[in-house]
Amino acid sequence: MNSLLKILKYQMQDNIRSKWVLGCFLFFLAFTYWIISFTGEAPKVIMSLLNIILIVIPLISIVFGTVYIYNNKNFITFMLTQPVNRSSIYGGLYFGLVLPLILSFIAGVGIPILVNITIFSESIFTLIIIFITGIFQVLIFTAFAFLIATLNEDKLKGLGLSIFIWLFFTAVYDGLILFLLQMFQDYPIEKFALGLTLINPVDLGRILVILKFDVSALMGYTGAVFENFFGKTTGFAVSILVLIIWFILPLTLGFKKFSKKDI
């Protein structure tokens, strides 16, 4: 445990100063600031932030995470020669990367919002959901990145796979859902649709936000299904639980692979 914290500490120090994380921070800061000063309306800002969280954050996390492992190959090999167990190395690397990313996200998005908090007075709760969702996206997609990089020695293959995973969760999956819903539209498929979206962490994050934001439209539709599920605390708890599973699952899988790996 001690060694994990030590690795974590040095990795964080290293990463916070890295151009990537700094770039992310500046990007979030500039984007949020720009969108707030350009529109000045909470709904518009929240919608743009939602796009950031569901598209940009997964992309940054998964690409950066994969590249990070490949770039630190020598460091990892060196660390493995030391009397440090593998879980400490893996955990240290993971959290050493995730924490600075989350920090850059929270600070980058948070600072402009705090400065203009008055226009968000009615949507504080939606903002909180946005932050929670964003944090989970970082956790989940970095875990995926680590899993992919551990499984593939070939850098090009790993990166390709990362981008595919990102594309799959953010766009392809929704296309499949739409296709299925259109194909079976003569059947009562509300619950089925609900189940399908629950499986995808990006969709789940999106639904958590639009439930706060587009609630009037969602209630307009067969209200019962959504309201009964997501509208209540159980639905929210289940959503968070699924997000946690999505974060634990690739992380443990990656770690298992890493522990058994030669090197």
Binding site: K44, T170, A171, L178, Q182, Q185, L194, A217, Y221
Partner: protein
Amino acid sequence: MMNGIKIFITAWLILVNADIAAKVLIVGKQQKYKLISEALEVSSSSDTIIIKSGTYKEGNLIVDKSLTIIGKDFPVIDGENKYENITIKADNVIISGLKLINSGLSFIDDNAAIKLDEVNNCIITNNRFDKNFFAVYLAKSSGCEVSNNKITGVKTSEASSGNGIHLWYCKNIVIKDNYIKGHRDGIYFEFVQSSLITGNTSEDNLRYGLHFMFSDSCSYSENIFKHNGAGVAVMFTKNVEMRNNRFENNWGGASYGILLKDITDSKIENNYFYKNSSGIYIEGSNRVVVSNNEFIENGWAIRLMANSMDNYFSKNNFIGNSFDVATNSVKNYNEFNNNYWSDYSGYDLDKNGIGDVPYRPVKLFSLIVEKNRPTLILLRSMFVGILDAAEKIFPALTPETLIDNLPSMKRFL
């Protein structure tokens, strides 16, 4: 002879005056009249009856003379869930300051706390109504005013609940500054003409906040309708004016800010639609002008069915709606001109305040959702964004003519 005429005239005047000199009858426990019905019996036209506080359970009170009935400290008139509290059958009756409760639920009679039956120029003002079947019921009446009443009901089911203010075959009625809550329909208009609804608040009703049918040349303004089961319905009517109203938080699959069905030559101006499932639902309506309204954070700001023609939408603000406009056809015979759309992403190079690129308020996704509701779960997904963007560049499925050629760059104030 002249003298004889003078005497006759004097005598006649005295007699008439005696008749005009209105009496004041006081009803109360320590008064001459213990019961309202006693006072009603001995009174004659244009008398005033003052009712002191207390609870009166006298079955159905019938007012068949032009009386002014005033309650002191809101005396309670109880219908005991069996009777109609007060039935007015004479013109020029004024009722104020009463508390009317428990008008009887009946599936045969429309028992009301106050029913006005074929009368003129009556005023119902400053009363309180609670737990009634119908509260105020006007049938075949004209020139009446219902104002400043507080009407509350108990929501049970649509069948066992009556309307707050119910008008049937009426003319020139003013419904003003009332508060209505928990009835079936807050305000109900059927076959009413040239009447005015203003300054009322109608909320938490089972069905409609305002139910409005076959009522030509009426107008409603400055009202607030919120949290009603199905919003406001305006149907089968010509020349309605709807101004400065607020429609808020009407949620549900069949809940609308305003439902317009078969409306012609009407105006919807300066209204505020906030967080309704559908702001305005328009079906079979023609020549309706919708202008200077605010549509904020509704599910659908406007749902325009293809059987509507020549409706004109101008200078409205569409802000943060999940869908700005939805329709069910590729054909469109309505016009959108110079509105502000928060989703508009065009530019204004000549700086004239009007976007240089037209705005298409109907997205492909809203067409998909209109046909297949469960797909709504994909709202604001990136895939849907890509679909919409593709459709925007090469419109194939969305109505070609449903387009705002002069989208405003700035929100209208």
